[in-house]
């Protein structure tokens, strides 16, 4: 027996097939309360010392057979720097086996660090069942990813990303490099996500989402490690990897096609009862940079709306979008573009707003529209510029809250805007759309998007000329800019602004300011146009 003398197994804590209304990260933090299991066993896989309990995963997944889960390994806390990790030249290391569908993007995850004495060293490996990589490969990866980072300044935070394509080994590796406190003081760490090179295309489509997910979790991991809670950190990562894989699985199983058929949308047959909802939804969807959650009670209705809204997204964005599924019942996942979401135990007395995981929405890169196809309610989170600062605050809070006396302050329901901005762009678009033959409608929608894009280009160019590409303070105030562009209506302006944000990230905040107070002052003047 190697370094792992005794193991304490952890029951699979991820039986969350039914959506809990809890915040995701809380669930992951929840996993830190590890209880020793009676059923302990060990397994050697490819030279790994894999230890853990083997719960009957299948029985947990009667409703969702494809959902990844873990067989967890955990060690007793044996002190000493080499108790659970070995150098690349060693022969054993601790690992966790991932029960995951072989088609999942993530094949394995490796946590390693740069040890000042032995160099790159693996701390922990999570290995999927279908992954055939040997321990040598992981050792090679840890050397590969950490070399060149020796001179990294550990005093300034931040997580850098590297993505390697290694055709010879038929591997792709996403490496997130960060400084954290190891057993022997601060050192450079690396979390490498191992993928098959055949999945390069998938990775490219989902990379933004994946980066956002992992960075958010690494921020928490860094604090745990700082507080010498190494084991908690590993368990937290377990849960996080599980969640991430589940999110990827959801995209794989219920993802949108890159081309949407008009028959599947509300644009095929005009339904006057849905007109108002449709107009409001499209307006809000465009205002929130094409990020929406569609909710309701009937999945076919939700999915029809998802398809409808996805027509306003690019095909790359569509691949980062998801239908809802009654069988699989995916929870809300942040940083997806359009997603259908079936809230658990929906009843009419309760507003869906009570169930919305606002904290999770706050973590997303862009604001989100929430569209309830049942009650025809459309709401959205704060506009891009406010959302940006709020997001940062919330993520900071998430990092500090385990050590804070106070509970996390989740965003209140009333940050959700009921969307009463007057607009004309979508109104006119819909009027014209339903007047033309069905065969032209897809082209017409594309034309509409391109018209907004061109308006956004005028806005970007105006801001660029006005401020000498941001080098000097803007001379024209936004109110004048709006008038010049013929965007007096608040809704129109925000739609164009959101499109400009997609084409020139940061312009929204540049034009409207990023601090809340400043924003208030400006907004008041804007509303009074």
């Amino acid at each position: 027996m190697t370094s792992t003398e005794r193991t304490v197994g952890m029951a699979d804590t991820f039986k969350d097939c039914d959506t809990k209304s809890m915040e995701d990260i809380d669930e992951e933090m929840e996993s830190l309360s590890i209880k020793p299991s009676e059923d302990e066993s060990e397994l050697i896989v490819d030279g790994f010392m894999v230890s853990g309990t083997f719960t009957d995963v299948a029985s947990n997944q009667c409703r969702t057979p494809v959902i990844p889960s873990f067989e967890e390994s955990s060690d007793t806390l044996v002190e000493g720097p080499d108790s659970r990790a070995i150098s690349p030249v060693g022969h054993s290391l601790t690992a966790t086996k991932l029960k995951v569908s072989s088609s999942n993007l993530i094949q394995a995850v490796v946590l390693s660090l740069w040890d000042n004495i032995v160099g790159p060293r693996i701390l922990h490996v999570w290995k999927g069942e279908a992954c055939n990589e040997t321990v040598e490969t992981f050792k090679y990866l840890s050397i590969y990813t950490l070399n060149g980072e020796i001179c990294r300044d550990l005093t300034c935070g931040g997580i850098d990303t590297k993505f390697y394509v290694m055709s010879r080994r038929k591997l792709c590796v996403l490496a997130l490099i960060f400084g954290a406190k190891g057993k022997c003081g601060p050192s450079v760490h690396c979390l490498s996500v191992v993928m098959s090179s055949n999945d390069l295309q998938k990775y490219v489509t989902w990379q933004r989402t994946l980066h956002a997910w992992l960075k958010r979790r690494i921020a928490v991991l860094r604090v745990l490690m700082e507080k010498d809670e190494y084991d908690k950190g590993i368990h937290f990562l377990n849960a996080s990897i599980n969640k991430t894989m589940r999110m990827l699985q959801s995209l794989q199983l219920d993802g949108l096609p890159s081309c949407i058929k008009l028959e599947d949308t509300y644009f095929y047959n005009e339904d006057s009862s849905k007109d108002f909802l449709l107009r409001k939804s499209i307006t809000s969807h465009l205002m929130t940079c094409g990020r929406s959650v569609v909710t309701g009670t009937v999945d076919s209705e939700i999915n029809k709306m998802v398809s409808t809204l996805a027509l306003f997204n690019t095909s790359a964005e569509r691949q980062c979008s998801r239908f809802c599924s009654h069988e699989r019942n995916w929870p809300y996942h942040h940083d997806l573009c359009v997603q259908g979401w079936l809230p658990p135990s929906y009843n009419l007395r309760q507003s869906v707003l009570d169930k919305i995981p606002l904290g999770e929405m706050q973590c997303a890169e862009y604001p989100t529209s929430i569209i309830d196809v049942k009650t025809h309610e459309v709401r959205q989170t704060l506009p891009v510029n406010e959302h940006h600062t709020r997001r940062h605050d919330f993520l900071s809070q998430e990092v500090t809250h385990p050590y804070s006396k106070h509970d996390v302050k989740y965003p209140e329901k009333n940050i959700l805007d009921n969307l009463q901005y007057p607009e004309n762009l979508v109104h006119r678009f819909m009027k014209e759309l339903f007047a033309i033959p069905v065969g032209l409608r897809l082209s017409f929608i594309q034309l509409f998007i391109r018209t907004i894009e061109r308006k956004a280009l005028v806005l970007i160019k105006s801001a660029e000329v006005d401020s000498d590409q941001g080098r000097s303070a803007p001379k024209t105030n936004p109110r004048k800019l709006r008038q010049d562009l013929g965007l007096q209506l608040e809704g129109d302006f925000r739609i164009v602004l959101a499109m400009a944000e997609k084409l020139k990230p940061g312009i929204y905040t540049y034009l409207l300011g990023d601090s809340l107070n400043h924003e208030l002052a400006r907004n008041i003047s804007l509303y009074s146009v």
Binding site: A219, H392, V408, P437, R454, G470
Partner: protein
């Protein structure tokens, strides 16, 4: 317990504190003092970094995107070799970066035998530094290098993270192609070297065997290198070296299967040496100069900025060039004379400089560097441009449905046709009725001057050739290297060979705009001006517009490059003689995306100077209406006004719809103008002319033609054109006061033109496709009556469905007409597999004289 509470909160059940307004929100937003004290326990560097949105990436040390080529030198370690473009990088520490990207052994292969390593790619996103890079590692092989390997890498460095993420896949593909250019040529050379090496070894072995047979000569006075070598080596050593070399040969051989690539390299080599042998005495010195110059421009210039930091290195690099000799890769004629092994092969001398990139990849390196420059130009554009261009790239097909205004892609009328399943309203080709309209009486019947119509045939060197050839300039500019066909430098130098290598890359590279244009406009170029190839709208690519400086590689660069790689067989290549190429390329029409136009505006862009024109001519709405209704416009100037005329034509081009040859030609300025004939009206839509200094009896625009064209006389400040009664153009014109610079006004124009085209799109599909077919010829006693009813219905449709003022109806009609004509041409081409004579659209309207 606490956890349970938290859970409850997290679930969103416990929201006790309700915000009363912004003040409360602000209070929430700013953490109170207690919170701050708690957060003290967490080091600030552990908290997520707040990244203030930075739309123009001002925080980054990188001002402009660049490509860095670096190598892991066995003498000096990682070092930057060159940057593209020269001198970029600004404050960015390239040496440090080179160390960082080359520090890892990317070719870590455990076995001891020789293997060929694959390329590896890394995307580096360093948010802290604001540096984002795509790095492509590749290995070249060098018989003189340690382990026979020379690790190199190419890095595309940018300050824009979003660009890096969205363009990653394209970069991967493009850099792989570049790497292939380098590697293939290099492997050929390496194989040749290895073969020679084996011969040398075998020769050495023979010598050794001979020596063994002979008695040793104790007091050898002339201790040469050869003798040294022979005295140090044993037969077993040499045998093992032979085995090693043969193993390498065995590994390399199967990789060299790309006959297409070999052929291209061979052509390049042949062309170079052919010129040499043709006129060796005379050419010798000049060729040397060319090679020298090539290197200097390619590498030395770019190299200097990296090298100047160490003077020693600078000197060494230049010394490398001085003895650079173009090597023969494909010379089968001369038998290699084996030599006794040089001592350098087993006694490493680290003071000897290794081969440079050009020597390592003969004939391949120039093409690779050219590709790199194209990549840099392409990707260094704004993220918005790249994104929009990608989307608009899909609008090009089907070509017959594409409408462009000012050579910018506006919309495609025939997209998504047939996408719907049965039952849907699919788009169809125009009905026969619509096609017949083209040759209707109302156009042909209005020829009232047969004399002027036919006169063109008597005058072979007439203005016609000028017009048509000039029209082609716009579309075959990419082909402008043919203008320099007689220049020996271009004909035989590597650069030209490379032009055949990748047709599309030549766009921005071998190109001399003013000269080329002059040649075409004066009709002196023998090749193209005499050919009147009827170019349809079928071959369209995102390309370069005539006056652009082509500093950006366009979409075509991708599409065609891809098609070249995937579709061309070696047979295609062999047959692609210059003339074939010429005829192929001249059929290609270059269009650009509006985003590209907006973000790369310069003094030679289409539309430049439009605000100045508006300022000078109050009658601008009439000028624009002329262009947007398809009536030809002649800009007339005095003998010395050539510059002014060209400027006005360039500015007004922004509003000219259509791009097909020969129907929508634009001629910036005819320097040797001749009288316009009726038939010319079929070809040009915007023509600049200067009156000759000596007044001739016949006016440039004869009265018969004057009825059908609008004339802007810049000498007399007068416009003769039909009056404009609509609103749309006036609105566009009025906005000039709000958008005071062209940088903002031109995007606005693009926006308005797209809206206008959207109207035309609906008109085309909902009116043109339905109404005419409902007309029965029997219903009308006279064709004119039918035309009247049609016009009435058309105006009514525009008014009710499109909210378009009757004065603007001709604009909408004309935009639809362009697409109709394109489809007609396409239909005719498919049906008759030949081109039909071009029809002349004559627009007889009452004209007014406007004073500027």
């Amino acid at each position: 317990m606490k956890r349970a509470e938290k859970k409850k909160l997290g679930g969103g059940y416990a929201f006790n504190a309700m915000f009363g307004g912004y003040a409360d929100v602000a209070a929430y937003y700013h953490p109170n003092e207690e919170d701050e004290s708690i957060e003290e326990h967490i080091a600030p560097d552990l908290l997520p970094i707040y990244e203030k949105p930075d739309p123009w990436n001002l925080r980054s040390p990188i001002e402009k995107d660049f490509v860095l080529l670096a190598e892991f030198s066995e003498l000096e370690g990682p070092r930057p070799v060159l940057t593209i473009p020269y001198g970029t990088g600004g404050q960015f520490d390239k040496n440090n970066f080179a160390v960082k990207i080359m520090s890892v052994d990317y070719h870590n292969i455990s076995n001891n035998t020789f293997t060929v390593s694959d390329d590896t790619q890394v995307m580096i996103l360093e948010n802290r530094e604001g540096v984002y890079a795509y790095v492509h590692h590749f290995t070249l092989y060098d018989i003189h290098a340690r382990g026979f390997v020379r690790p190199f890498c190419m890095a595309y460095v940018t300050a824009d993270e979003n660009k890096m993420l969205s363009a990653y896949e394209d970069m991967l593909n493009e850099f792989s192609k570049v790497s292939k250019c380098f590697s293939y040529a290099n492997k050929l050379l390496f194989l040749k070297d290895i073969k020679h090496h084996i011969k040398n070894l075998e020769h050495t072995k023979e010598c050794l065997q001979k020596l063994e047979g002979e008695p040793p000569k104790p007091n050898e006075s002339d201790s040469t290198d050869e003798n040294d070598v022979l005295s140090e080596l044993t037969i077993t050593q040499v045998e093992s070296m032979i085995a090693e070399a043969k193993h390498i040969e065995k590994v390399i051989m199967p990789l060299l299967t790309d006959k297409k690539m070999e052929l291209k390299l061979k052509q390049a080599e042949d062309r170079f040496f052919m010129s040499r042998s043709m006129d060796f005495e005379e050419e010798h010195e000049r060729e040397e100069e060319i090679v020298q110059e090539e290197i200097n421009t390619e590498e030395k210039k770019e190299d200097v900025n990296c090298i100047k930091e160490t003077p020693r290195r600078k000197a060494s690099v230049y010394s490398l060039y001085s003895d650079y000799k173009p090597c023969r890769l494909f010379d089968e004629t001369r038998e290699y004379q084996p030599q006794i092994l040089s001592s350098a092969f087993f006694r490493k001398k680290f003071d000897k400089l290794l081969r440079n990139l050009h020597e390592l990849c003969p004939w391949g390196s120039h093409n690779a560097l050219r590709r790199l420059r194209c990549i840099q130009r392409y990707f260094s554009r704004d993220l918005a441009t790249l994104q929009i261009e990608k989307e608009e790239g899909t609008l090009i097909d089907p070509a017959a449905g594409l409408l462009t205004i000012g050579r910018c892609v506006t919309l495609n009328f025939m997209q998504h046709s047939g996408r719907l399943a049965d039952g849907g309203y699919g788009m169809s080709l125009p009905s026969n009725n619509l096609l017949r309209r083209r040759l209707s009486e109302d156009t042909l019947g209005s020829f009232n001057s047969s004399e002027s119509f036919y006169s063109i045939q008597d005058d072979r060197e007439s203005v016609h050739s000028g017009v048509s050839s000039a029209a082609e300039v716009a579309f075959i500019y990419a082909n402008s290297s043919h203008c320099d066909e007689h220049s020996p430098r271009n004909r035989y130098s590597i650069s030209e060979a490379d032009d055949y290598f990748v047709i599309n890359y030549k766009e921005g590279d071998v190109y001399e705009p003013p000269k080329a244009r002059e040649r075409y406009l004066t009709g002196s170029s023998a090749g193209t001006s005499s050919e009147r190839s009827f170019t349809t709208a079928t071959d369209i690519s995102f390309g370069t517009d005539v006056d652009q400086d082509l500093y950006t590689t366009r979409r075509s660069f991708y599409d065609r490059a891809i098609s070249m790689d995937s579709n061309c067989t070696s047979d295609d290549l062999i047959s692609s003689s210059p003339t074939d190429l010429e005829s192929n390329i001249s059929r290609k029409v270059a269009v650009i995306s509006a985003a590209d136009h907006i973000f790369s505006l310069n003094s030679s862009s289409i539309g430049h100077g439009i605000l100045k024109v508006f300022q000078e001519y109050r009658c601008s709405p009439e000028i624009l209406a002329t262009l947007l209704t398809g009536r030809p416009l002649v800009v007339l100037g005095g003998a010395k006004d050539e510059k002014a005329v060209t400027a006005i034509v360039t500015a007004l081009w922004l509003f000219l719809p259509g791009h097909t040859i020969p129907n929508h030609a634009v001629v910036p300025c005819l320097s040797k103008p001749k009288q316009i004939k009726m038939v010319d009206l079929a070809h040009f839509k915007l023509l600049g002319m200067c009156r000759p200094e000596r007044r001739t009896s016949s006016p440039l625009v004869p009265s018969s033609v004057r009825n059908y064209v609008s004339v802007l006389d810049i000498e007399r400040k007068m416009l003769t054109a039909p009056a404009y009664k609509g609103h749309i153009i006036k609105d566009i014109y009025k906005q000039r006061k709000i958008f005071k610079t062209e940088d903002t006004y031109i995007p606005f124009v693009h926006c308005e033109l797209l809206e206008l085209a959207t109207r035309a799109f609906i008109y085309y599909h909902c009116f043109c496709q339905k109404e005419p077919s409902s007309f029965q010829d029997n219903d009308f006693a006279h064709p004119l009556e039918r035309a009247n009813v049609y016009n009435m219905k058309s105006t009514e449709f525009c008014d009710t469905r499109l909210s378009v003022h009757p004065g603007d109806v001709p604009v909408i009609e004309y935009l639809s007409e362009i697409v109709k004509m394109q489809q007609y041409d396409e239909w005719a081409r498919c049906s008759y597999s030949d081109t039909l004579p071009t029809s002349v659209k004559l627009d007889l309207r009452e004209c007014k004289v406007f004073k500027a």
